[in-house]
């Protein structure tokens, strides 16, 4: 009985510390990434250089492989490895173009980190409030640690999930015209975002 109590007393703080460390690790990585993106936006002179510099900064923390798979949904299993690679490339391009286009050179967002929750092991949800150009948004970053560092796998803005939003569109395309329809829709969206 005493041994059990001793083990509990020893293990519980260790487990709690491990969970806290995971929280901090994901949050620290996100904060560093937000800082990097903010500094680039502040120092950029024009839109072209801003987009060119923001892209690698965002690509470091966003896991496009998982995001593409989840955005396409059940149809993903019908893709050949070659088609999957093409879809990931197109989706990456689409996200980077869409989101870097929202930045204005010299204007920096202010991001307040509010809370971090762990809905399940290996997954963190970091709730923030972002203020940009006079508007406030509640943004939740869903981060996961698969094998390497913590990475963003979804962004929920004002309660609307980016992955769910794209999944609804791509799933509908897949049901109408299969893999080719999804790839065509992605190519069209990328072309329109240029």
């Amino acid at each position: 009985m005493r041994t059990r109590l001793f083990l509990q007393a020893l293990l519980y703080p260790l487990l709690a510390a491990a969970v806290l460390a995971a929280d901090n690790e994901a949050e620290t990585r996100l904060k560093a990434s937000v800082d990097e993106v903010t500094v680039i936006a502040k120092n950029s002179k024009d839109r072209a250089s801003l987009i060119n510099q923001e892209k690698p900064a965002l690509a470091k923390i966003l896991n496009f492989q998982i995001m593409t798979r989840r955005a396409i949904g059940p149809g993903w299993r019908e893709f050949t490895p070659g088609q999957q690679a093409e879809a990931v490339k197109l989706f990456t391009d689409l996200i980077l173009r869409t989101y870097t286009a929202k930045f204005t050179p010299g204007v920096t967002p202010s991001v307040v980190f509010k809370s971090t929750t762990s809905p399940e092991p290996g997954r963190q949800e970091i709730t923030t409030t972002s203020e940009y150009k006079g508007s406030k948004y509640d943004v939740v970053y869903r981060m996961e640690q698969a094998q390497g560092p913590w990475e963003i796998t979804d962004v929920v803005i004002e309660g609307v999930s980016m992955v769910a939003n794209y999944r609804a569109q791509f799933d509908s395309q897949f049901k109408q015209g299969g893999v080719d329809a999804v790839l065509k829709a992605l190519q069209k969206a990328v072309a329109e975002s240029k």
Partner: protein, 163 residues
């Protein structure tokens, strides 16, 4: 004697009718008429406003279950919604659950969107990728608040350009 028997039969018939109506009202109201075998899974929402036991769970517009219960997780104040789904439905582990509304002011329901994972959610497990109820009033409030800020910003800009 004959009259008493007849009255008793009529009374019994009326009672049975009332009991049947009460039973159906309760069963249909709480939505426990999802036929066949079922299983339970949970989904975690930041805000489950408008969802109550008996609400429909839809997938591709088809009713595949009902909301069995709602409770709060005291550790992070999130809402845990228990879903009762038809047994044959296999959901990939990266499936999403969203709180949706029929029309602008209609009833709330849970919409499921299956993912692409090879593994499937087992009974008793939890969907953690969810979309909560969109708070229209809060959004309208933010739009109004935002416009006030923009006016202030515009005035500041005008002040700077016209010293």
């Amino acid at each position: 004697m004959k009259n008493t028997k007849l009255e008793l039969s009529v009374g019994l018939f009326v009672l049975l009718g009332v009991a049947a109506i009460v039973y159906l009202t309760i069963k249909l109201g709480t939505g426990s008429m999802v036929g066949g075998d079922t299983y339970l899974i949970e989904s975690r929402f930041a805000n489950a406003g408008g969802i109550h036991p008996g609400c429909s769970v839809l997938l591709s517009g088809v009713t595949v279950g009902r909301v069995e219960g709602i409770r709060m997780d005291p550790s992070d104040y999130s809402a845990i919604v228990t879903l009762k789904l038809t047994k044959g439905l296999r959901l990939p582990t990266d499936s999403m659950a969203s709180v949706k509304t029929s029309g602008l002011i209609g009833d709330k329901f849970i919409a499921l969107s299956p993912g692409a994972d090879e593994s499937y959610l087992q009974p008793g497990t939890r969907i953690t990728m969810t979309e909560s109820a969109v708070d229209l009033e809060s959004l309208i409030g933010k739009m109004a608040f935002g416009s006030v800020d923009k006016d202030k910003d515009n005035k500041q800009k005008q002040g700077k350009s016209n010293p």
